[in-house]
Symmetry: D3
Subunit: 237 residues, 6 copies
């Protein structure tokens, strides 16, 4: 049995609240159960130096966890003087995923920086971050269109992310922390609403798993991401 009797292919209760930041051009507070991530999208009229003069924009992401977002306190990365390997890995993943659904030419020579800050962590923070980031990015881009700065919204496709895994021999959608820490395999999927693959990262925790299990994890992800994309659409409406 999963915690709170969730079905194997059932998401936790998910909410997406937009416009939560008074200052950011786009923002979304996304909750997957007890996992809460605050995402802001900041428009910067200018691109990094290495991109200047190419007639294209850039989308990048940063990720952080509040020190006590977790069960026990983690040291603050700013105080340690560097971002950990996990953080670096996650923010690269978020940025790549967003750029895969953004027409950088249509964005023009400006940069959007998406900040994903985990307020509370109960598993699946990176996939919640991506899902919320898509909302904040879309909102910021819509604003650019509204202001007449660009003609069409450069976000090319709905997209969301979810984690799946194998726990106690069963494939499950949207692992929460107690499941995640006991998983035999852990996979993060970033897919478009229509099931196009943007990124798949699957990892065996202790022993290898099979191609059939991989297929089942993919099937669960498609189901969950379909539901998430519907919620994103509703949140932006």
């Amino acid at each position: 049995m999963r915690p709170e009797n969730r079905a194997l292919d059932q998401l936790r209760p998910v909410t997406m609240e937009t416009g939560v930041s008074r200052y950011a051009e786009g923002s979304c507070l996304i909750r997957f159960g007890h996992t809460h991530v605050l995402v802001t999208a900041s428009v910067d009229e200018g691109v990094p130096r290495w991109m200047k003069g190419k007639g294209k924009g850039w989308v990048t992401a940063e990720y952080g966890m509040l020190p006590r977002s977790t069960h026990t306190r983690n040291n603050r990365e700013a105080a340690r003087g560097k971002q950990g390997g996990r953080t670096v890995e996650i923010q690269r993943l978020i940025g790549r995923s967003l750029r895969a659904v953004t027409d950088l030419k249509a964005l023009g020579e400006r940069q959007i920086v998406v900040d994903c800050d985990v307020m509370q962590a109960d598993g699946g923070t990176r996939t919640a971050a991506i899902t919320g980031a898509w909302v904040a990015l879309s909102q910021a881009c819509a604003g650019l269109v509204d202001q007449g700065l660009i003609e069409t919204n450069p976000v090319t496709s709905p997209m969301a992310a979810v984690s799946c895994g194998i726990v106690d021999g069963t494939c499950r959608l949207d692992l929460e922390y107690v499941e995640d820490s006991a998983a035999q395999a852990d996979a993060n999927f970033v897919l478009t609403a229509s099931g196009g693959i943007i990124e798949v990262q699957a990892t065996a925790e202790e022993t290898p798993f099979s191609g059939e299990e991989m297929d089942e994890l993919m099937r669960l992800a498609k189901k969950g991401i379909g539901e998430l994309c519907a919620m994103q659409e509703a949140a932006l409406a």
Copy 2:
């Protein structure tokens, strides 16, 4: 006229929400108008190495701002690889203020780390942080008493903080950002409910100010802190 017709000695609308973190031993989401600070207090059974064996505890604080808590985005300190001078200064102030109202002997050999993270900044973030930190610390200490780990609550006195300043030649309580950025003088007060001084930091922005103005700022601070301490008591009740 002050924004939104505030009186010179009037606080912005203040709210304090406790227990907002699922995991932290104490927590408070404090709002001074559009300034929002999330504070958690984490109990750590153990003290820093240089304090071991002294039969005393320790209280320390860290402070951070979300990159887009402000009007324009600031670089993430974790990404830059160091905390800025302002951050260091503020977290030292918060820690000192909390220790001034904590009986470290009564706390026993354990450490409480208070994290103050600014969600949204509209002036007065450090004083909001101190005021909320007192609430989170008190809640965490009450929990230690409830669990029988210590006998009496080591927090010795109610305490809060507020900023005052001189704007357009008038002394004002609780500056918001537009006032703060135009102030001739800026002062932060950390006082006990009964007006005892814990910390005063007053700074002339461009030209020196007088002792009489200093007295008026102190008077305003006492009034505001009296009100804040009443709200703290209510929030913890």
Copy 3:
């Protein structure tokens, strides 16, 4: 046509030379075409502090590129004062992959550090590193058995890695640099000789790809990894 008329499912010429380091307990110079990686496995009698007393060992990896291993010179990470995000990501992947085929209990309380240094880079350095790392690790572990320090070799399974990708609309095995930089999708597979999944990382470069393409990439990877595992066995013989 692929460079040098390679078939879509054909590896580049691969060689694995063991025992290339006079000092390291295990070593392998692995070449995938013009990609050359020098791998050493160093046995350290002791484990990191956080693992002490658990009766288990640890395997970890570090990765680096010589500054002029690439077409144009890259800055030396030691001189810049930090490892880049890509480096961090890769060395975490190598370490995870090795641990997935190592019985850490059987290893005993000792650590094996695997260093993968890229001498020359022509695409696929991370998968070449993993494939060579398995050889160096196996050799180091065999040495521990020979010296009577442990009873059985803790490496539980043959394992190798390869990159596949979609270039000009065709799925291809073992991309070299000119292909990699033009790929629509790029996927790294770490599999056991029998096809068990250890890690899959698939990324769309500009536009999403389909589940059918993913299946074809997996099929190519299985073929290539089967061949690589045979070469590993030969190299160790």
Copy 4:
């Protein structure tokens, strides 16, 4: 009784020696008893990038302690790779104080960097630094006038700093180290010769103190700073 029978409102023997550096545009070796601080003011024809084109200059300060300026050796900040929180706090205070008495427009687009290096520390190093910094800055600015680079000296007002504190229940002027380490409260005042407030930082060490005590500390500070400003004038004559 205070050490060496000092009266409660009596400064330690203070000396200010100007022109001690062969190369710096302004310099002052200031001694408060056994506290010795070497201050240099360096004129830099150019301003930091963020100030360019504003027709204004800038004054900034740095602070350091020689490793063995203190009773026991402290680690060298350059070797540790970062300046400590206390150092950052102090150098920000010195810079702010100097800018409060400098007409940055009159200075023109150039920067003056004031370095305060503690040769020997016996309490009150930051206030000695500020007092000496005013002398070195004034000398450097006078040199700019002499060279015809600017028309009027941009230093607008005499200014000095002193620490006061409550020790054994008595308010005292200019604490030395043995007093400072036993103080119930510690306050640093930066005032103009005529008593205008530039900065006040008052801190309770263990228990809060009263408004009356604050007033008495301010009274002592005014007396001491009056005397220091007279010495500054003599030193520059």
Copy 5:
């Protein structure tokens, strides 16, 4: 007796292999017995900012050791986040030595970066690096002449380096590790083929040595460097 019956004035077997890097403009894999150093010379069309517009070029060097080039593994400098003092010292020496035989005007406004990476270390890595660096630099410069980018090869003189030392009371040429670690004195010589002095660094390990011993070390160095310069000429032929 020296290891392997070497005579006191005999070099270890030395080989120099050029063109070992597919991408670098110049390269040399140099071996002094078991000490192996891979050197690349990278031409960069541009100079550091502080050299711009002077009509001169620049030659600089970097040095690193693979973590397991030594008997026991050393931590990777990139992972530690800084280059150690020894590394810094060595790469400054290499750069200075190369610039002493390079006509920077003749090089034109371009930079050559020489990377010396120690694959295996058995004593004398810095002198092997300098000797190999001269070969790689010469090759890169010859390429510039061949391409018509410059008229004459800016390398003004043949040059090589060797270590000598006093071991068991005897002066010896080209110390290997077991000798080096037992030496009473250790000296590194960088000389031109005709015996001109570019750099001498001689260090007593425990007790001072005499001027006569210094003379004998110099005599040995001249002999060895004569032989090395002949090998360099052959390698480039």
Copy 6:
């Protein structure tokens, strides 16, 4: 002609003042003309971790320059967050030189840290630092004998350092800055009073120099160091 008509083999006016620090166990303010270095020797009852239990002590050195010790201001290394290559090189040289004349067994398990801080720089700061460091170290060791902590002074031999160089074709003793910056060769010698060699570092600036010139530089150094050792003896008397 040399500046101020100095003879080629003449030192600048040298003074050594001991006991200049109120707190340090040994100290010396040494002046070579306008080069002024403040040296302190701090006794630390304990050795670095890697030396524990060996029954031996340790001597180490750190070096720094005040930002405005030079003609134009240099950035503060503590603010830049790292010590430069030149600093690292110099402090390693000072430490090595001191250890070469210290019987570490006789010192017992304690460490002496020698801090050399350049107050004013006019050439030859590293050799002035070594010469002054020997005085401060000797004084600190004498104090250990006086307190009965060790039986004999572990400093085994008088020792000093001086720079020599070739300027305008003539070999000269003790270069000052204007000579140093125009030198064809620059050499630093660390010798015992009786001429024993501790360290020689000779560098050609632009073109190689001859063995005969090296011999003349050595002759000058011996003369100068003989005089310096006599002054050291006098300073300690």
